[in-house]
């Protein structure tokens, strides 16, 4: 691996972390969906670059899934759902943007501090790749925690999952990566269909999870 090769790999993996930050502070639905599509595209390029570097043609399938399914089909489907549900105005944030961003930076610092010493013996690229992947994973969690809306929680989950795919492709020669990414796609499809079905049944007036809590019937 030449320096340029690993620089490009770092650039792509680093961009994924950056786009994760972009996701954190989007407060409009459509903007959120567009940024997520960008997230998936960056992942696709990153995975494709890994496939090229590792001479692992099967990883191109993972990249293609990321590009087509998560970069295009899912955002388009969510776009329609958002319009249908009439929730395209704003996103409710539980914590305001400033603290969220600071917290996000703390998480990235944490993952670098945790991963770099642990992976001393692994190759130079794997080290940074894992630190980036863990950052994306933790930022995904942060997004799921700070958002109340079901659609943005799903987007948080998908960005988390992109971090996992990044980690899996970075681990040289790991088997089952393609199968796992297909499995995740099925899971996400379930989620999206689930949101859609909630509405079709018209059981809920809102997909706001706070309102769902009310219907739980665990009254004291």
């Amino acid at each position: 691996m030449t320096t340029l090769d690993s620089d490009i790999a770092h650039l792509l993996a680093g961009s994924l972390v950056l786009v994760s930050f972009l996701l954190l502070y989007q407060d409009r639905m459509f903007a959120l969906l567009n940024v997520f599509a960008l997230h998936a595209c960056v992942l696709a390029f990153s995975v494709a670059w890994q496939a090229h570097l590792q001479h692992a043609p099967h990883l191109f399938i993972t990249a293609l899934i990321a590009l087509l399914f998560k970069g295009m089909i899912i955002p388009a489907a969510l776009h329609r759902i958002v319009v249908r549900l009439g929730i395209h105005r704003t996103i409710e944030n539980v914590v305001s943007i400033g603290p969220t961003m600071l917290f996000g930076m703390g998480l990235v610092a944490l993952s670098v501090v945790v991963m770099l010493p642990v992976t001393q013996s692994a190759g130079a690229f794997v080290r940074e790749d894992l630190a980036f992947a863990l950052s994306v994973l933790l930022l995904g969690f942060l997004m799921m925690v700070t958002r109340r809306n079901a659609v943005s929680q799903v987007i948080g989950f998908m960005s988390l999952e992109n971090g996992l795919v990044l980690a899996a492709t970075g681990a040289r020669g790991m088997p089952l990566v393609v199968e796992i990414s297909v499995g995740f796609s099925v899971l996400i499809a379930f989620l999206v269909v689930g949101i859609f079905l909630f509405r079709i049944r018209e059981r809920f007036d809102t997909v706001d999870l706070q309102a769902l809590d009310m219907s739980r019937g665990e009254s004291e």
Binding site: V118, L164, L176, G194, L212
Partner: protein, 483 residues
């Protein structure tokens, strides 16, 4: 000869539910489907029993060893008895128009698919395959929990989905880290994911990576086990789904997730330089035990209450395995087996109770021993057993655990006993109102429907009075292997 019988049994174990799921998806009449469901589960149980004596050669993907046969036999047994319970339960749900016959076709197909996924998770020798199988099992139960499509059921299902997915994500990250640790020594590819190779060679793995991976795995699979503080999905999923699924969740799925943790614990145990995973497991176990004990007090919903009791018992089992050593491991294994049998029996009873009474509200259910004596007394026996009173098997395992904890960590034993007492008194308090008191209601229930419940409780009572020597030897052997 031995080899071919074993391979055949393994094929039967995985093939029966897989083909069964497809078959049940196309059978429209629910009566036929319910009977077929029982037959398929019986065949799977027979295959699992056959695997006890005839082991196939391990491959890179599948492995049958002493540890997973324990889980397989308990799992397929509970799967079979639950299918018998489910036949009676589902007929009532159809009559009361809570479910339509189209839903039932879906339900039966998913039931077999769930059995397939859990059996696959148990026999997989590949940590990636195990992860995929547990993910499939989770997805299936998510769909089944939401099958009533009420507000509460959909919310429970959504919560389970989100928390389950987070758990899945963490567990996968942990699995990737284990692969990275192994890859340096075992080389790239499938070999570095085969569990038996990992466990045999883990002494040479990078200890720092293994340490980090176990944290992720404990949190990830711990979500599935229902350990506090990542247990929040469990009570909702148990309370809002169909009761056969509550029984399968408590009796089976929680065990499968715990099994995954044990597999990784064995990999850790092979490397002397890593942190001991024991204290982490003990902490989460003890926290779940005490927390769930207090939560049982405050429940108003009968299924939710027993769901918290499941968290409590999974906490006890995790604590036992975290403590380690032959005696505590033996207690953990025995407790796991007894809890699976007892808790599923209780859910069978609770399922009928809520159907007959038309409510899950504890306050509205009174005098069960008068209105339906057989069901009432069986439920009393079940609760007495789960609370840990003699002469039942759970008493034996808890006694063993408490004595071995007293010998090795007296402070922990105080916490353990405290947790057990809290849960015990909470259950006793609720049981009194449920089972006794005056009531004018009289319910009819065919006695055969209570057969699975009686069978489970009978087994638990026998285990408490006299545990067969063959079982003791078998469990002791596995406990020594667990280290």
């Amino acid at each position: 000869m031995n080899v071919s019988v074993g391979t055949l049994a393994l094929a039967g174990l995985l093939g029966t539910p897989a083909i069964g799921a497809l078959l049940l998806a196309v059978i429209p009449t629910y009566r036929v489907a319910a009977v077929l469901n029982m037959i398929l589960c019986a065949l799977t149980l027979a295959s699992a029993a056959l695997l006890y004596s005839h082991r196939p050669e391990p491959s890179l993907y599948l492995l049958v060893d002493d540890l997973n046969t324990v889980f397989l036999i308990i799992g397929t047994l509970v799967g079979f008895t639950t299918s018998v319970f489910s036949a009676g339960y589902i007929a009532h749900e159809l009559q009361s128009r809570k479910l339509r016959s189209r839903d039932l076709r879906f339900y039966h197909a998913l039931y077999q698919f769930l059995m397939f996924a859990m059996d696959l998770a148990l026999v997989s020798n590949n940590i990636g395959l195990m992860w995929v199988a547990i993910e499939l099992a989770t997805l299936t139960t998510v769909v089944m929990v939401g099958i009533y499509r009420t507000n509460a059921a959909l919310e429970a299902s959504w919560k389970y989905f989100i928390l389950g997915s987070v758990g899945i994500g963490l567990a996968l990250f942990g699995t990737i880290l284990v692969y990275l640790a192994a890859q340096e020594r075992l080389g790239e590819g499938m070999v570095a994911m085969a569990w038996d190779r990992l466990a045999a060679n883990s002494a040479g793995f990078d200890p720092a990576l293994l340490n980090l991976s176990f944290v992720f795995l404990l949190l990830g699979y711990g979500t599935k086990v229902g350990l506090a503080p990542v247990h929040a999905w469990l009570p909702d999923a148990h309370a809002e789904g169909p009761t056969p699924i509550s029984a399968v969740l408590s009796g089976l799925l929680l065990n499968v997730a715990l099994f995954a943790l044990l597999r990784f614990r064995l990999i850790m145990a092979g490397n002397p330089a890593v942190l001991s995973p024991g204290p982490m497991m003990v902490t989460m176990g003890a926290l779940s035990l005490v927390f769930a004990g207090f939560m049982i007090y405050r429940r108003r919903d009968i299924k939710r209450m027993f769901a918290y009791s499941s968290i409590e018992h999974m906490g006890i089992i995790t604590l036992a395995f975290g403590l380690g050593g032959p005696l505590a491991n033996f207690a953990g294994l025995l407790h796991m087996a007894m809890h699976s049998l007892t808790k599923s029996a209780i859910f069978f009873g609770v399922g009928y109770t809520s159907q007959l009474e038309g409510t899950q509200h504890i306050a509205d259910i009174r005098g069960l021993t008068q209105s339906q004596p057989l069901l009432g007394w069986l439920l009393v026996i079940g609760v007495v057993a789960i609370a840990g009173l003699p002469p039942f098997g759970i008493f034996t395992s808890e006694f063993l655990l408490v004595t071995s904890t007293f010998a090795r960590a007296p402070w922990l034993a105080i916490l353990l006993v405290l947790g057990l007492m809290i849960a015990f008194s909470a259950l006793a308090l609720r049981l009194h109102g449920l089972a006794f008191g005056e009531t004018d209601k009289r319910h009819a229930l065919p006695a055969w429907r209570l057969a699975p419940m009686a069978l489970h409780l009978g087994l638990v009572a026998i285990a408490g009075i006299y545990l067969p020597i063959a079982v003791v030897a078998w469990f002791r052997h596995v406990a020594t292997q667990l280290g």
